[in-house]
């Protein structure tokens, strides 16, 4: 019998063990290949090349994907190796040299790897169309699908996975080299001896873990100042370290206290959840921390990307309150009116007057806005409301301040706040009664706007005229009656030549849609990969644990515990194993989103909840798969 025969035989015999690793490999290949073919697709390339941000986002995502696939495959391989260590030991025991065993494993690995590569690319070719279709839909391009057979993508995938295979082979060689025969036979019983935690140190560290997380959460809500970057790093550092301590010390400590309080009367379900968890706490702390942090990252990324996609229309409307706006130029305005009339598009147009003044706040608004003077545009509440943007004003000598670009920094400023207009000449003081979200004018320029009631506006207008030869600005706002005609009207609007500034809702909407669509696609894709990786890692680990504990289940069944009773304990353990990283990850991501919420003007609770629910739903599939595997194992145990 040649070595190759042995390889084929052992692979056939070990299918049960292989399928796990094989599946992990195929999955990684498929996802990587899909991403690579999108990267090489001409349509996508044209789109992304237009925007520097998008093409770099695609590149970064590619690297991240590569990294995750690599870690995932290596991890799956290490679990796989552990499960087979007995077999490897046996080969050595019957006299195969370590070199021969390594050669055998490496041969197997390459057979598996090339198989997975071929199958993965095959599946990838089939599903990449679906992904492209999805991407096109998300960025709002309808058109013919041109995804062609991409040789470059295949080559890239092959290169990446051959390198990965080489790495896993190296990993195998090391595993064979490192382990002594004795160890190889003992792996199945491995587990830690549970020591009495040193009370003082572990309670200090345990509390420190929670304090670090708490501090990170607190800081995340107070980091919008000049040290933003350092604050972000501090938050990341303290939360990750805190999470590690939480898993490594705090939870072990709590479990130990519970166990001591039971004084031996542990009960079945605790015997099957608490005890094995404590037994593997040290080994699990690393992976649980990684999974928690990864989940938090993924959740944050997904929720943020989905929120930006979901609230695109709302956000754009806040930035561009009117469908179209033309500043100053009456000829251009008339042209546009005529063009709209000719095309039979019904609209409402209204002219708004704006006084451009210098202003002076009574104090600095925010450490990040370290100045007191500003350019401000005063407009009348009545005119705005006629144009279709009603804004409620309460006081007679006060106004509402709007500036979409810096609203996130103004939200927290205390009102009322005094504002002196034209301090040198006019020196009129009015107060800001509130800071409202969004813009009052389309993004023609980046001037802030103060909306005041009609009387005050007229008063300022006349007083100002006395002092200065006025140059009152006019802008005309257009709103279509039928939103369906926006595309057509935008075409007409673009043709109007005007020395004055123009800005419209629809163009902005399309631009944001494209970038946020691309973003949600990349985030969703990466999120899916992260999710599948973390879920599979947990599943694989639990599978191994189930195998290791099989003997215990046999004993328990012989002692007369039913499958249902044993499952109760197992489910309790899974709630911990899957639930804890998820819960902590969720909490982390909620705080992360809260601190990043300034990028959104609108409320993003709904999209966040949707994104998180989808994540949780997919994540739970892995938990159910795991529970199912345990049930099967326990049923077969007697």
């Amino acid at each position: 019998m040649t070595l190759f025969d042995l390889v084929v035989r052992s692979m056939r015999k070990n299918l049960k063990h292989y399928y796990l690793y094989f599946f992990a490999l195929i999955l990684s290949v498929v996802l990587y290949f899909v991403f690579a073919s999108l990267q090489h697709d001409t349509t996508v390339m044209e789109r992304t090349a237009a925007s520097f941000n998008m093409s770099s986002a695609f590149k970064v995502a590619g690297i991240l994907l590569l990294f995750i696939s690599g870690v995932f495959v290596l991890y799956a391989n290490s679990i796989f190796l552990k499960r087979r260590s007995r077999e490897v030991g046996l080969y050595q025991l019957i006299g195969l040299s370590k070199f021969t065993v390594t050669r055998m494993l490496v041969t197997e690995n390459f057979l598996l790897g090339t198989g997975a590569l071929a199958i993965g690319i095959g599946i990838g070719l089939l599903v990449s169309r679906v992904f492209l279709l999805l991407l096109m839909k998300l960025v709002g391009i309808d058109g013919v699908l041109t995804l062609s057979f991409s040789g470059a993508a295949i080559l890239q995938t092959i290169v990446v996975f051959v390198v990965l295979l080489a790495l896993t082979s190296l990993q195998m060689a090391f595993a064979v080299k490192r382990n002594t025969l004795l160890e190889l036979f003992k792996v199945d019983q491995s587990g830690e001896r549970i020591k009495k935690p040193k009370t003082v140190i572990s309670s200090v560290l345990g509390i420190l873990g929670m304090v670090l997380i708490g501090f990170g959460y607190w800081l995340s809500g107070h980091m919008l100042n000049s040290l933003l970057l350092y604050n972000m790093l501090a938050v990341l550092g303290s939360v990750i370290l805190g999470t590690y301590l939480l898993f490594r010390v705090t939870i072990g400590w709590v479990l130990y206290q519970i166990r001591v309080s039971k004084n031996g009367h542990l009960g079945l379900s605790n015997s099957l959840s608490l005890a094995p968890l404590m037994h593997r706490m040290k080994a699990n702390a690393n992976s649980l921390t990684i999974i928690t942090v990864l989940s938090a990252m993924t959740l944050t990324m997904l929720a943020a990307a989905y929120s930006s996609f979901y609230s695109n229309e709302k956000e754009t409307r806040l930035v561009e309150p009117f469908d179209y706006m033309i500043e100053g130029d009456t000829t251009a305005t008339d042209q546009f009116r005529k063009a709209l009339d000719n095309a039979g598009i019904k609209y409402h147009a209204s002219t708004i007057e704006a006084l451009q003044l210098d202003g002076d706040y009574e104090k600095e608004l925010n450490p990040m806005l370290p100045y007191k003077d500003l350019q401000i545009r005063i407009v009348s509440e009545r005119q705005l409301s006629e144009a279709g943007l009603p804004i409620e004003i309460k006081g007679s000598n006060s106004g509402v301040f709007l500036d979409g670009g810096i609203y996130w920094m103004l939200k927290s400023v205390e009102v009322p706040l005094n504002l002196t207009l034209e301090p040198k000449r006019l020196n009129k003081t009015i107060s800001v009664e509130r800071f409202a979200e969004g813009n009052a004018f389309n993004m023609i320029d980046y001037t802030s706007t103060l909306v005041v009631n009609e009387e005050l506006f007229q008063e300022i207008k006349s007083e100002y005229k006395i002092h200065e030869e006025t140059q009152l600005n006019h802008a005309t706002a257009f709103n279509l009656q039928n939103e369906g005609q926006l595309e057509e009207a935008t075409g007409l609007y673009k043709d109007i030549e005007s020395p004055g500034k123009k800005s419209d809702y629809y163009t902005q909407y399309r631009n944001t849609l494209q970038s946020s669509g691309m973003l949600i696609f990349i985030a969703g894709f990466l999120g899916l990969v992260f999710l599948i990786s973390t879920g599979s890692i947990l599943y694989f680990k639990q599978m191994t644990e189930a195998e290791q504990e099989k003997a215990s289940y046999t004993t328990l069944r012989q002692l007369g515990f039913s499958v249902q009773e044993i499952m109760k304990g197992v489910i309790k353990k899974q709630v911990f194993v899957f639930g804890l990283p998820l819960a902590i990850g969720l909490l982390h991501s909620i705080f992360a989103l809260k601190s990043a919420s300034f990028i959104f003007m609108s409320d993003v609770t709904v999209p966040t909840v949707i994104a998180m629910s989808v994540y949780i739903a997919i994540y739970l599939i892995f938990a159910f798969l795991t529970v199912g595997y345990y049930r099967k194992t326990i049923k077969a145990a007697l």
Binding site: R193, N263, G264, H265, L266, L268, S552, T555, G560
Partner: protein, 258 residues
Amino acid sequence: MSQKTTMLEAVSIRKSFGTRGQVQQVLKGLDFRVLEGEFVGIMGPSGAGKTTLLNVLATIDRTTEGSIKINGTDISSMNNRKLSQFRRDQLGFIFQDYNLLDTLTVKENILLPISVGNVKRVVAEDRFKSIARTLGITELANKYPSEISGGQKQRTSAARALINEPSIVFADEPTGALDSKSASSLLGTLAKVNEERDVTIMMVTHDPVASSYCNRVVFLKDGTIYSELYRGEQTRQQFFQEILKVQGILGGDSVDAL
């Protein structure tokens, strides 16, 4: 002894393995009875059906034919769920390789069988204390199986078998993995438990020394009862000689090989 009630009664039990065409009958119509408070040893050469008999009587496996009554309950017609419940309430088990849960301490392991049920914590604690004292493992309560010796593990296993105050304890080669000193110490304890607590024990073994601790030894051969020996008033040494004699006639594993 005749006033004692019957604890276990098996009537013409048969057990066959395999599918049609290739049926192998392991138990061939066996009648068997254990009285309350008896310490019965089951001996016989490999393949005689010792372990199968034990599994069948202990409700871990089912008979092909025949009926089994334990403490007045007919177990042959029970469904799996009821059987589980029955095992937990009425039976105790001691296995050759201890089968302790590595993740639990000695005390937790011992208390496991009464962890789901209506035994109050105070009662459980009392039972544990008394059994641990009898078996001499009080000091080990908070140790893990990996920290104690084989003999100590088997005592723990025995304590676990006794905690639910079973009608009958089944022991499958309990001394199989022990050195002779630990083995005799454990057997002495089992005999003591049998005598003092009046616990019924049925032990499968192929070690004549081990079975010399019993009140009665049943020899199996080819799926039927070959003979029976009562210890009566003999010393353990005398009983041991008797057992050896029968074993010689029966042809133990080693004799067969010659």
